[in-house]
Symmetry: C3
Subunit: 409 residues, 3 copies
């Protein structure tokens, strides 16, 4: 190497001048309690993110993904998945432009033959310049990978950050032995935070009142909430667990609104399929839990006994990968088979592509407004939105690093 | 509402840093006599602008428009048109993504059921959160609306600015009782100021010399002008009337050029259908008048006895809505019917879509140059262009506010 | 002219604020030895650039081109080609929107009839305003033009810079009397510097190992180089000649690598068709030479006895015109005819559109990385890349001016 790249103080995106952050200091300083969240336009670093389903990476295949603005390459070798950055250290071209794997454990750049090891990113050979001193000394960025419940998780972190256990980045119960998850993923044209906030937004159920899921499941769906107590949410901030937030308990009496009024007149009604609290427990979703780096668990949804786990994985500043799984505790092979069948033939069409498509619509409708960073300070939140504010503040407090221009360019 | 949005000092457009103004101070200070005009890239605030023809808004229909970068919604209720901003105050989504009007006088946001009154913008209900204290206290921006001569005018103004009468924003005679106007509108990919300046540019008639309108009307059309006196224009700046500029009178002798020469040789000729000044009065357009916020009247055009009124309504920084009307004084129903027939079957195809299409071509050809704010200081105007400079200075003096990033984002 | 345009201190590109330079000072100051090169995103001024082949400009035809961001017009009059800027001085529209040439030696703007002389750019008439004082005093920018070897060269320079001879801007031998060149041009979506650097990059031959040219010519093609001496390159910096760089001599023994190894195992082999140094001279390309403003000569390529001359002409910051010629010394008409036939039927398909297409692929793959100016400081060059660094430094030392925003806007 002829010259060490100096550390960058500010960044230029093409002709465009950008600062150290994707978001201006002028705005950040206005929200001291959720500053890191406002800044995390490209997501939080030092976390595990799912990027693919396990079934999407066959043995020996090289596939591409993009996460938090970083382009990566994945390959499964002897069953284990490895991930490296899709950018040759030499002159920055993508290895994926023309994949060359001469040995099982390496990948070679099509341009000058820079060859890297999949397991470490280490530069082990340069075909066009075999005696160059940098061989063995330089490396491509490599990403820790874990697979769980049919998902491939990648740890996007700083070089000096030792990855924490995956269990700290998923909602409780997801990794339980008997939990079986099936799912699908969708590319959504909105910032990842809008995915999160829509997911935990209790009032947005109004949007779903005509969803095909409602008649399919014959369960209750209110239009909204009223007079919620200030201490409605519980925060989870133990140092060794996920950092999350959840309603203390779901109440089903007064706070639920099943009748929508305009100027005193009932103009729209929700679906109420229960009369007693006992019935309600079977006919209602019973809770949700969201944690860093942007994962939601919904209990008894889309049906009694199921758990929906969903991720809003930052792809860029205006796109996230929406990964939805429907999980169920299964004790036997027969139960597993039945759950898979139900997922494919009932929940995928009716819930993921019925109910959740309505959420995708909403998030993409939020994007033009929130795409202007200024507008994060122009919204008019209501009392029932305080879960969103508590979520932003929790993210701020537990931020382990915000993705910056220098991580992406 | 959990938090009051602080007043914005400067704006960010996506990732892009923008200042308080759409145009840099560095440039503005170079043109002290027309600084406000250079700054008014998105138009002047506190004016009446036509946004639709009356016939385009049927009773009960909700339609969208965009003006000066603001997206608005229009609805006709019991004959009267109302206009509100197409952006829910809650989380900024467009109401028009999915229109829900449960009562005749309200519109409800599809996302959380925020419901607004069409006549005031006031938030009257929130379906998903019926007891929230902000109900009745907050409002969506609403715009005063007036209809005249088949056009729907919207007043885009500051909250504390009491709308002045429409008569101050249209050329004299337009609102006269016997004046009957018919027209059409076209979206043009150029800044609105280029529409204005092309409209009042006396030299641009060279462009029209082969227009289909010329043989159709058998009227005179010179190629340009020579030796025009310095006091050619009269300014109209009375406090209670429109602010405008017009030639003192149309002279038809020496200042008109009907022969075009290159290196002394006649290479192109205009169309001269008259020999005496008396004939000229019948064969020639006899004047034009332009006023704020960008409206032109042309007398005896496209034919003797007709008036062309046209608006260049700012839609964004690079697009304007070109509204053209052909007006005529009509005393009887029969005259009105004949004028409408003539408009549809003669003037719309031959003049609006013949002659004026050439103007659209020219304005769109100007856009790449003037799109760079610097280039407003790089043009090379000639003596006969002094009307353009006087127009810019008049706009500067009578500016009632320039549309800013904070009005648009 | 009503007002003199003030000299611009900084530039605005649409809404975007740009500085005096297309590249930030913050970055430029980090590379003091090749600062001018890093800054020359739009190319170097005061040089001769080919923009068309002579055969592309027929007598009397007006054609457009874009070079270093400047839009120009070319016309051949009585055999001689003239070039002027394609932007009327009056209001900045392109003359090419509607070409009007009333006399052989002039062009008239379609908008107001501003008429310019092709040979000087001088404003000689204004049809719509024939008596205006600026006639004869103002001029459109005109560009010196020379034709040589079937190419039309345009000098893009400062007003006060007297064009130097074309021979200072082409590699030696190109202008020799017996040299006959044929070629073609291709628009490439990469910065011009990436064209240059790929051209002189000795290691990139790895990319070409499966090129159709190799079996077609039965010549040797190594995979790369090893253990190259530090003084491998010779610099040409005489004041009256082209400023260039070339390998001292091509060695064919140890420094060439014909076997590509990964982890000790041979995984790919080059093509070696010779066994002795004498044979090598016939079977190998024997050298290359690159000079300002971005021209390469390759000797004995694509075949013994041929010279490839190629240009990377800046069109904009992300596009260059790749002009390739295959030249041969021809003593007789018969040799000339045979060379033309060979070019069209062998070298154009197999070399230009076979071999060189692989280079186009590489340059376009480099663009996303180098498009971020910061990344010019993030590459990891190897010892064998020192020719690239020497080239950058030579360009820096002999820069006669960098194209700036004020030259382009």
């Amino acid at each position: 190497m002829l010259r060490a790249g100096p550390k960058r103080g500010s960044q230029q995106h093409g002709n465009r001048i950008v600062a150290d952050s994707f978001v201006e200091e002028r705005l950040l300083k206005k929200v001291p309690r959720w500053r890191n969240y406002l800044e995390a336009k490209f997501g939080f670093r030092n976390h595990w993110y799912p990027v693919k389903f396990s079934r999407e990476i066959a043995e020996g295949e090289v596939i591409t993904a993009k996460i938090m603005g970083e382009e990566i390459l994945l390959k499964r070798i002897d069953g284990k998945v490895f991930a490296i950055r899709d950018r040759c250290i030499h002159r920055g071209v993508k290895l994926s432009e023309k994949v060359e794997c001469y040995t099982r454990g390496t990948i070679t750049c099509w341009y000058h033959g820079f060859t890297y090891k999949w397991d470490s990113g280490k530069l082990c050979d340069i075909i066009a310049s075999p005696n160059t001193p940098i061989i063995g000394k330089k490396a491509l960025k490599s990403y820790p990978v874990e697979e769980a419940k049919g998902l491939v998780f990648v740890f996007v972190g700083d070089p000096d950050y030792e990855p924490h256990p995956l269990s700290r980045d998923v909602p409780p119960t997801f990794l339980d032995d008997d939990m079986v998850a099936h799912g699908a993923s969708y590319m959504v044209k909105s910032n990842w935070r809008l995915g999160c906030e829509n997911g935990i937004d209790d009032l947005h159920i109004y949007l779903h009142r005509q969803s095909p899921l409602v008649p399919n499941t014959q369960r209750s769906l209110p239009l909204g909430h009223t007079d919620r107590p200030d201490d409605f949410y519980e925060l989870f901030e133990a140092s060794d667990g996920p950092k999350g937030i959840a309603p203390r308990k779901f109440k089903d009496a007064k706070p639920m609104a099943y009748e929508g009024r305009v100027e005193g007149k009932v103009v729209v009604t929700g679906t109420k399929m229960h009369t007693t609290p006992e019935e309600a427990a079977k006919k209602r979703t019973t809770g949700h839990y969201v944690c860093l780096p942007g994962v939601l668990r919904v209990d008894n949804f889309p049906f009694t006994g199921l758990f929906q786990f969903e991720w809003y994985v930052p792809v860029s500043d205006d796109t996230h990968l929406y990964i939805i799984t429907i999980a169920k505790r299964c004790a036997t092979e027969e139960e597993r088979a039945e759950h898979e069948h139900e997922f494919l033939h009932r929940w995928k069409p009716v819930s993921l592509e019925g109910f959740n498509n309505e959420d995708v619509f909403a998030r993409e409708a939020l994007q033009p407004f929130y795409n202007h960073d200024d507008n994060w300070l122009e919204e008019t939140l209501v009392r029932e939105d305080n879960g969103i504010i508590q979520w932003r503040e929790l993210c701020h407090r537990h931020s382990s690093g915000v993705q910056k221009p220098s991580d992406v360019l």
